[in-house]
Each structure stands twice: as C-alpha cells, then as structure tokens.
C-alpha cells in the first residue's frame, strides 16, 4: 500500500539526517511512501501561540491535500507536526463550526478520510521479527538514554499513545537493535523547545541537567525522536560535557548498514563517530 509522507520543515533543513535515514529504511521494510505533494508548514508553536485560525487552517491544508491525492495514510515524522495535525483534525471532526471555517478558508470541506500516523507507529506495525531481519550490525556497546521529550505521547488523547506501553515499545525496539537501555528519570523533561533561540541561557540549564542525568545513568549517547529536541540537546548546554545525540532512525540505519549512514553521521554538531568507533560500529 502506498502511504503519504509528511516530512515537515526541519527534515528538509536542520534535521536532514532524520529524514534521510528514515526514507532509506522504508524500502527494506516494504513500505512504499510518496511525499505529500505541495505540503506546507503545520504552523508549529508560533501559529497556535498567536492565532487559532492560522493553526487550524495551516494544518488542515495538508489533510485536504492528502485527501485530494487519495492518500489513506499520512506518515508524520515530527512529534510537534503530528500533534498539530491531529489536533486540527480532531477540532474539525468534533466541531461543525471549525469545519465551516476550514471549508471557507480552503475552498472545500474535509471528508475525514486520512489516517495520520506517527513514524514510530509504522515501526511498531512492522514488528520485531521483520526489524530483526534487517539487522546486520547489532549496536553492541551503545548505551542509550532514550529521550522521549514532551510531545511524543502528550497529550495522550490526541496522540492516542499510552505513555507506559509506548515507552516500553521504544525500549524494546532499541534492545532489538542490540543497544543497551540506560535507566534514567529525565526522558520526559522538556528541552526548552523554541526558547532554545530566544532564551539560550535557560535552555542551556535544562540541557545541562538532561546531560548530567544521562551521563550518571552510564549512557554514551542520547537517543531522540524529535528534530527540535535534537538541535537543542546538541547546541545548548554549557557546563556538562556534550554527549552525542542520535535519532532512532539513524541508529536503525546504522544497524541495517544503510549506504548513506556515514553521510548523515557527519552532519552532527556533537560528533557521534568517536563513540561509534569505540563500539566498533564504524
């Protein structure tokens, strides 16, 4: 089945390595994906922070496009985009007034036929067995602190994920790859989100605390699922020595020995290659 792919703005720029590594994984996993044509920004925090109409209509334009392009499923890569798109769809489906607003702004009503799917759900559907079949190089020697951030499961009634089972699934996925899970209590602490640009001092103190706890748990890297968490965790922090911050998709790509791996590993601000070399993965 063909599924639509909604990368979101970061994946075309600062989070290219997340997009590339996931894109390269889809074929071996038997998923045929096509990028949603002419997609636009979901509006992210700035839209919902200032004007509910912009947030609603920017998000809904993508769902209308998916419907127009006969895509039954739309894979979303960024947790923030996912929450924004889901929230807009929920509003339209539960409030006829919001539906009216969307048809007026975008020229036609939303039929509600598109299923929004977060990329991790796809990995869950693929299942452990098939995941194992891709494994060429188990991630032995990688002890990762899994950093879920804020919006991966919150709010649960929008994402549809139960925090506990969801986090166990991610831990199991990481173990399936051969990695060791570092036990820590900071996986759900906010990275500071967009304050990373406007309040660097505050965000540095948040990042320092996250790094300190990851290190204390014995981790040699932080594993992330969100482009904004990734940038903040690499770019901010002052006191604590930096830890490499890798996307789960990069680690999957590394374990599956995908050809473009070295290219995206070279783009990090905190070079992960020394840790990977030490684990004999490069």
């Amino acid at each position: 089945m063909k599924v639509g792919y909604y990368p979101g703005c970061s994946l075309h720029s600062s989070a290219q390595e997340m997009g590339e590594s996931f894109w390269d994984l889809m074929r071996p996993l038997g998923v045929e994906a096509i990028e949603l044509e002419d997609w636009n920004c979901c509006g992210s925090s700035p839209a919902h922070s200032t004007h509910h109409g912009w947030a609603l209509n920017l998000a809904m334009r993508n769902l209308l496009l998916a419907e127009e392009q006969s895509l039954k499923e739309l894979l979303v890569m960024c947790p923030s985009c996912f929450v924004r798109l889901r929230e807009a769809a929920r509003q339209v489906q539960s409030d006829p007034e919001k539906g009216e607003q969307v048809s007026k702004a975008l020229g036609r009503p939303y039929g509600g036929s598109v299923r929004l799917k977060f990329f991790l759900e796809m990995l869950r559907d693929v299942g452990t067995e098939q995941m194992r079949s891709l494994l060429k190089k188990p991630l032995k020697g990688i002890k990762g602190a899994l950093y879920y951030g804020c919006l991966l499961s919150r709010p649960e009634w929008i994402t549809g994920f139960d925090v506990g089972p969801y986090e166990s699934f991610l831990e199991n996925l990481f173990r399936t790859l051969g990695g060791e899970v570092a036990h820590w209590g900071y996986g759900r602490q906010c990275c500071g989100a967009h304050l990373g640009i406007t309040k660097p001092g505050l965000v540095s103190s948040l990042v320092d605390r996250i790094r300190e706890h990851a290190r204390r748990a014995g981790a040699n890297c932080i594993v992330v699922f969100c482009p904004l968490c990734q940038v903040n965790l690499e770019m901010r922090g002052r006191k604590e020595p930096a830890l490499p911050v890798l996307y789960i998709t990069e680690l999957l790509g590394l374990a599956a020995e995908l050809p473009r791996t070295t290219r995206w590993l070279g783009r990090h601000l905190v070079d992960p290659r020394p840790v990977l070399r030490e684990a004999r993965l490069l």
């Binding site: 703005c9 970061s10 075309h12 720029s13 600062s14 290219q16 002419d38 997609w39 636009n40 920004c41 509006g43 992210s44 925090s45 700035p46 839209a47 919902h48 922070s49 200032t50 004007h51 509910h52 109409g53 912009w54 209509n57 920017l58 334009r61 702004a105 975008l106 020229g107 804020c150 919006l151 919150r154 709010p155 649960e156 759900r188 602490q189 906010c190 500071g192 989100a193 967009h194 304050l195 640009i197 406007t198 309040k199 660097p200 505050l202 948040l206 770019m235 070279g266 783009r267 990090h268 601000l269």
Partner: protein, 176 residues
C-alpha cells in the same frame, strides 16, 4: 468586569477553571517556570479575579512552550496550555505591551517565513530574528558550524499553493 474576563477566557479556551485548587502541581512540573513572573496556577487565579491587564501583560503567558507537562500532572485536567494560547491571542488583539518581545519576535519571524514560502526557511528565520532583536552575534559560531556541516538549507523552497497560504495567513502583519 471580573466575570467578563473570566467568561471570555473560559469560552475561547474551552476550559473551566473552578477545578483548580492550587495544588501547585502545574508549576512544580513546569520546565520553564523559573522564567515566569507568575506560576501557572497564579495566572488561573488572576483570570478568575478579572486581572486582565496584569495577565495579558505577563511574561508567563509567553514563556510557556506548550509541553503539556502541567496538563498531565493536573489532578483536575485544567488545560493550561490551551488557556495560554487564548491569553496570548487576546494580548495581541488588545495591543498590550508584550512582556517578552523576543519570543514574539521569534513567532513573528517564523510566521513571516510560512507566509512567504509556505514552509519555514530556517536560515531566513534565524537571520530575520537576529536582525529584529539586534542579537546578531549571539550564536554566530554555532550558526557557522551548522552551515559548514550542511545542516541549514541554503535556499528556500516555495510551494505552489501560495495564494491559499496568503489567504490563511491574512493579518500576519497585525503581529508587527
């Protein structure tokens, strides 16, 4: 007057605030509370008391990043992030002096990119934000490193449905 403000915030955010009994769970779990002038529960109390000017002129409403940590810890599920969205929108409508001009400058630069290209052109966003706040040299080296590593797209990409985006975003100029 007090009832009017409370009623408006309540209607627009879809929230009822009577449930709040000031247990302080929201502020306790808030990652950015130290940069706020009032704790989230204090904002609720001020809304109930009709303190329109103080609330709309506060730092707290802009510092909130919407991480939903307060909401998952609130025993009565008061949707504080939805309340904050409404309060920011009301502050902009009322034209009050925004207590966190840099955060507003960021939102403005971001939405300007969306309005112009349909997507966020990150390099343009950063430059616009830096120019509008005069903080041009802050983060110069990290920005340079990101460029050198090819982590910032050098040229923007424009979508075809720009007319639709302009129609949606009509009034972005109001943020100026």
């Amino acid at each position: 007057m007090a009832a009017e403000f409370l009623e408006e915030v309540s209607r627009r955010s879809g929230q009822r605030f009577e449930g709040c009994y000031h247990c302080l769970s929201c502020g306790g779990g808030c990652p950015v509370v130290e940069a706020m002038d009032y704790n989230p529960n204090q904002i609720i109390r001020m809304v109930q008391r009709g303190m329109r000017e103080e609330v709309l002129g506060s730092k707290a409403i802009w510092v909130c990043v919407g991480c939903f940590s307060c909401l998952s810890q609130c025993p009565n599920r008061v949707h504080i992030p939805a309340m904050m969205d409404t309060l920011r929108e009301m502050a902009l409508e009322a034209g009050v002096r925004v207590a966190e001009p840099e955060i507003l400058a960021f939102h403005r630069a971001f939405l300007g990119e969306v309005r112009r290209w349909g997507r966020v052109y990150e390099l343009g966003l950063v430059l616009k934000y830096k120019l509008s706040t005069g903080k041009f040299f802050e983060d110069f080296s990290v920005g340079f490193k990101m460029m050198a590593k090819g982590r910032l797209q050098l040229l923007p990409s424009r979508i075809k449905g720009e007319e639709q985006i302009k129609r949606i975003m009509n009034g972005t100029r109001r943020l100026r």
